[in-house]
Symmetry: C2
Subunit: 232 residues, 2 copies
């Protein structure tokens, strides 16, 4: 996306979007794919527990599960589990759809010349699939785990995304469905906004520091004036 | 389960358990199976929206989805969708496990001669599978949608379960992971207890009237004294 810098006011924010659960409906398939992948290496965890870890990168997630299950994993087990998850998730991918209002929200921001980017803990390949699903072109600014050393809740993904937009992170709004997005937003001094479309409840998102919580991307689109963005 | 009536004090409650998300880890597979089943009849709904409807019977669920999607369904479509869901769910069933502490909680209640039963909006066949998974014998008191005219949030399932235990419903504790369990409990004047193991958040369960919310069955087992039940 090309920015017309002179049109943007100094106070106009940029938007940094999470992908899974925020723009596409992929959190539940990810949760079940991880459940299978962990079972394969002998770790049994309930789906609701795994659900609350989605949004972290695979490696961080496995580290957390290892601690929670009290089981010590070799790096070979961890790698095997990540690969298993990737394959299991791809079997679900025919079922993944854009979330309500996601395409319309991104289109409207583009029309209003509000800078935006996507920052995901996921892999480049899965992100490319998501862009197709969202019918987004190749010039979208997107940052994946392959671009940073540490993913959410570390703020690196959002830092890189903001830098690519040439915006200060303090002026950005981070939009996500997981507590990890909101914790990363806080650490980066960005404004965190929660969406319920990933299935995490309002109180969990608020406790993680959400400035506002909306039902989904469509609901955020209907409330852009909360951020001083007015349709022309 | 045989009750030794003379051992039970007048104030000792009975426990009525929901099944999916409360005793077995089947809510996420149900959500995705319903998503596929609805897609098959042209209704697209996000997984998080479907997740929050799990716990109702198939027919009630389809009715709600129909209203939410603004689409009118024939009774043939509805039947087709229910059957699709049943088959899709069975493909996930290899992945379903008992939830943490479920077996231990039921064993401890039996040991302490506290009456308990299972009341589920699900089908008899799926319930039979769940009993096997939980290693429960044939003499467990269980009520399914096949035993009542209307399922949750109508209180009928719990009414029948309490009657089978020869307990007044006002003396029963209803334990479930969905708002429908808790709404049904309120309507039946029973005490509602929420478990987080189905992935619904604490605030949603409390707003639906939960007297207490525990992490899972294991956590409820550790807090049986909240109900005046003391290990001997």
């Amino acid at each position: 996306m090309k920015m017309k810098r002179k049109k943007a006011s100094n106070h106009q924010p940029a938007f940094l979007f999470d992908l899974d659960g925020t723009l596409i409906d992929s959190v539940y398939p990810h949760a079940l794919a991880w459940q299978e992948a962990l079972e394969d290496i002998g770790i049994h965890l309930p789906a609701a527990t795994i659900h609350r870890r989605i949004g972290m990168s695979g490696a961080t997630l496995i580290h957390a599960f290892q601690r929670e299950s009290g089981k010590k994993l070799s790096s070979r087990d961890a790698k095997r589990s990540e690969e298993f998850h990737t394959n299991a998730f791809r079997e679900y991918s025919h079922q993944v759809r854009p979330l309500d209002g996601a395409r319309e929200l991104l289109e409207e921001l583009t029309r209003l010349r509000v800078p935006w980017a996507i920052a995901t803990s996921g892999q480049k390949d899965d992100a490319a699939q998501a862009l197709k699903l969202l019918k987004l072109g190749r010039n979208v600014v997107i940052v994946t785990k392959d671009d940073v050393e540490k993913t959410k809740p570390e703020p690196d993904l959002f830092l890189v995304a903001a830098a690519k937009l040439r915006m200060e992170l303090e002026k950005c709004v981070v939009v996500g469905d997981s507590v990890w997005d909101l914790l990363a937003a806080q650490r980066a001094r960005a404004l965190g906004v929660g969406l319920l479309s990933g299935g995490i409840g309002e109180d969990e998102l608020e406790r993680a520091g959400a400035y506002r919580v909306y039902r989904n991307a469509a609901d955020l689109l209907a409330h852009l004036d909360d951020f001083g963005i007015l349709s022309e």
